[in-house]
Amino acid sequence: MEFVRHDAPYVNPKVGVAETMLHVLIALVPAALAHVWYFGPGFLLNLIVATVFCVGGEMLIIKARSRNPRIAIADYSAIVTAALLAFALPSLTPWWVTATGSLFAVIVAKHLYGGLGFNVFNPAMAGYVVILVAFPMEVNLWVAPRMGDIDYVGLSVLQTIAYTLTGSLPDALTFDAVSRATPLDAMQSGLRNMLTNAEIRTNPVMGDFGGRGWEWIGNFVAIGGFWLLVKKIIRWQIPTGVFVGLLLPAGLMYIIAPGSNASPGFHLFSGATILCAFFIATDPVSAATSPKGRFIYGCGIGFLIFAIRKWGSYADGVAFAVLLMNMATPAIDYVTRPHIVGHPRRGSRT
């Protein structure tokens, strides 16, 4: 009898890239629902716009690179980029802003570097930084979270759609009525104006630890993150690193001068800290790859988030922190190579 021939091993791999990405998307569902609950349906609109432009942009660039678009689209990585971008954007964002970020993310940050697996920078964060710099007004318009005790002016679905399409509010409403400073903004400008931590925390946007609404979204992000850890889609080193890198200096500063520093709890539950730890920094392509390297990479991101929030001019520093550490990745990987079995241990002369 004759047989077909192959190369060893003859056992099929169990997981695929598409499955991994799908897990990430599923893990984001609780946080997405919480986001819609607290900040209105704008998140979903942003998600739709971002997905259309990320996937569409990827199809275009793949065609231009004469690759098979079916294979590249089937890995869901463009949708993950879209989802992360949507999480970074305020719920009221004009569509062209989202589209710019999406197209930059997939075309420039991802495919001009060689596509999936070759991008040096986290595409979603690169896209976000571009619009943060290009449209500073548009991406800072955060609506007030839905909470009983602050005067909440919710926009209807139609009004949100209208804003997303046109970039202007209904006549009866002003930006001041619907938008609020984010807790990080409030904290940063408050501290700069020599207010004490306790005084700033009386601002109605503040919640128990971080900002109202924000901290609850953080909790739901964490649920998804833990699920990814359990499913072994992500490893513990990067999230732990981010938390250590951020909370250690934040905690130290808070102990030394509690009046003029935000608490570690505030850092943890404000802005995109938790999302960054579980979903953004863990993008394997642009992260360090050795186990020790991942932890150092995470720590670096955590510390940079702290530094930018404390001393920088941006209220949140997640995107910059991630991009800066992306640049450090090759160096980190180089110095954290694990000991190869059978090779002399570092420092020993045997």
Partner: protein, 506 residues
């Protein structure tokens, strides 16, 4: 008597694979009857090739020497049954490089008449170790775990080292394979006495018998015989059933917590590892003077009607064996000699069972090959690598053909276990790529050697030319000198001749 002890060392990574061993071990061991024809490859070991010492038409007896190595870096081959040599020709075989190898084909007469035994051997413990080593060489015994390194050579090499432990490897970590499990159940005494012979040959005092903890029947049987033998030197060690704990270096690490140095041998850390099958073969040869002419092999997979372990004469074709166990199922699609992780696929079942054949695996599904995606650097491969390499980085450098980086990231330390392939979400055939990269590095080294030789030739030629030039220059100088001393008359003569020449030209 010794109670079973557990592992001391730790292995990085590895995989818990679906063992799939039950399907073959639930059947008793059966012997394959004498086939009509035996196909014996002349070289069934790692090392120098052997040469046939019989001619076509010659009658041979069971156990008769039919091929001998040119040097001690090899192992002889014996006839597995009696009959007539009908051909010495290339035949399809399963091996790493090339598909055909010279084989001696014996047409069996069915009598299975054995060669008259030499005078009875003295008890092994009364023989000096060197004599034992030479004897083992003559028995054609090679490592039966798969590497088929000639055992005698391994012992000779080991006798030059300071050894602490002998380890009998009863760890079959690859899925499906259960021939050593079956061997330890059926021939535990032979294995352990083989271990005693090895201890005597090596002048050692500790022999660990390493068995995976998921083989309770084998552990129980070995335990019983250990009690009967009451030899304190023999110690049973259970190791966790994690692939690839049965690899020689990995087992040393598990049992002794010592790392075999890169490019080195277990003897560098005082260990000698022998497969349990090899120990039993040594017993058969030293005690009963039966050379290595048969072995247990596992026939398994969903392409086999009735999976089981069989005792087969070396040279029996796989087709005969599959026939004996009830043939193929309808879904049989690929045949692998060895395990599903490191085995070698063959295109035909005409290949014979050889000393290395521990498993005949027939599987239905072919691995998905067309869906390779780019590496996303997830690092799963690094987590499972037993050598703690970074396969994702190696892959990167293999694509870039960066030899220096490949070396510094330990490509040559890769044991090609295949763990990284299995966990790669991008379905990159990493092991295959590393195998190719290693081959390229070897080629480059050869090329470099060739270049060095070429340069040396070139330099030698230059030197020769220089020398000739110098000689010519010297001659010229001498001539000039001669012209100077020849005086004005001679110069006038020359000038006149030159002028005449010029006039003629005009």
């Amino acid at each position: 008597m010794s109670a079973p002890t557990y592992d001391l060392g730790k292995l990085h990574g590895g995989l818990r694979l679906d063992a799939n061993k039950q399907i073959a071990t639930s059947e008793p061991l059966q012997s394959i009857p004498i086939p009509a024809q035996l196909v014996l490859p002349i070289t069934q070991h790692a090392g120098d090739a052997a040469q046939p010492i019989v001619g076509i038409g010659e009658r041979v007896l069971k156990g008769q020497l039919i091929a001998e190595p040119d040097s001690s870096m090899g192992a002889p081959v014996h006839a597995s049954s009696s009959g007539k040599i009908v051909a010495i020709e290339p035949w399809p075989v399963s091996r790493r490089y090339g598909d055909n190898a010279p084989c001696i084909v014996i047409e069996c007469d069915g009598k299975d008449k054995a060669i008259a035994p030499a005078e009875a051997l003295p008890a092994f413990d009364s023989m000096p170790p060197e004599v034992l080593e030479t004897l083992i060489l003559q028995g054609g015994i090679v490592g039966l775990g798969g590497a088929v390194f000639p055992t005698a050579q391994k012992l000779m090499q080991a006798s030059t080292c300071k050894l602490d432990y002998l380890i009998l490897n009863g760890v079959e970590c690859e899925p499906y394979i259960s021939c050593d499990d079956m061997l330890m159940r059926e021939r535990a005494r032979e294995v352990l006495v083989g271990g005693q012979i090895l201890l005597h040959a090596l002048e050692l005092d500790i022999c660990y018998i390493a068995i995976e903890s998921d083989k309770p029947a084998a552990i129980h049987r070995i335990g019983e015989v250990l009690q009967e033998l009451n030899d304190e030197r023999l110690v049973l060690k259970q190791v966790p059933s994690i692939y690839p704990s049965g690899g020689e270096d990995q087992l040393v690490q598990l049992v002794t917590n010592l790392e075999v140095p890169s490019g080195g041998l277990p003897t560098d850390v005082g260990c000698l590892v022998q497969n349990v099958g090899t120990a039993a073969a040594i017993y058969d040869w030293i005690v009963h003077h039966e050379p290595l002419i048969s072995r247990i092999t596992t026939v398994s997979g969903d392409g086999i009607a009735q999976p089981m372990n069989v005792m087969a004469r070396l040279g029996t074709t796989v087709a005969d064996i599959v026939n004996f166990v009830g043939g193929y199922t309808e879904i049989a699609e690929q045949m692998i000699i060895g395990g599903p992780m490191t085995g070698k696929s063959v295109s035909t079942d005409r290949v014979p069972v050889v000393k290395a054949t521990n498993c005949i695996l027939v599987l239905s599904k072919t691995p998905a090959i067309s869906d390779e995606m780019p590496c996303i650097r997830c690092g799963e491969c690094a987590d499972v690598c037993p050598i703690q390499l970074l396969p994702q980085q190696l892959f990167w450098y293999a694509c870039a053909d960066d030899e220096a980086k490949l070396r510094s990231y330990g490509l040559t330390d890769c044991i090609e276990c295949g763990c990284c392939d299995l966990v790669c979400p991008s379905h990159i055939p990493l092991t295959y790529d590393f195998r190719m990269a290693k081959a390229r590095i070897r080629e480059l080294a050869d090329e470099k050697a060739r270049a060095v030789r070429a340069r040396m030739r070139f330099e030698a030629r230059n030197e020769r030319l220089d020398k000739q030039q110098n000689e010519r220059d010297e001659q010229l100088a001498q001539q000039k000198e001669a012209a100077k001393t020849a005086g004005p008359a001679a110069i006038a003569e020359i000038l006149k001749r030159k002028k005449k020449q010029l006039d003629e030209d005009e």
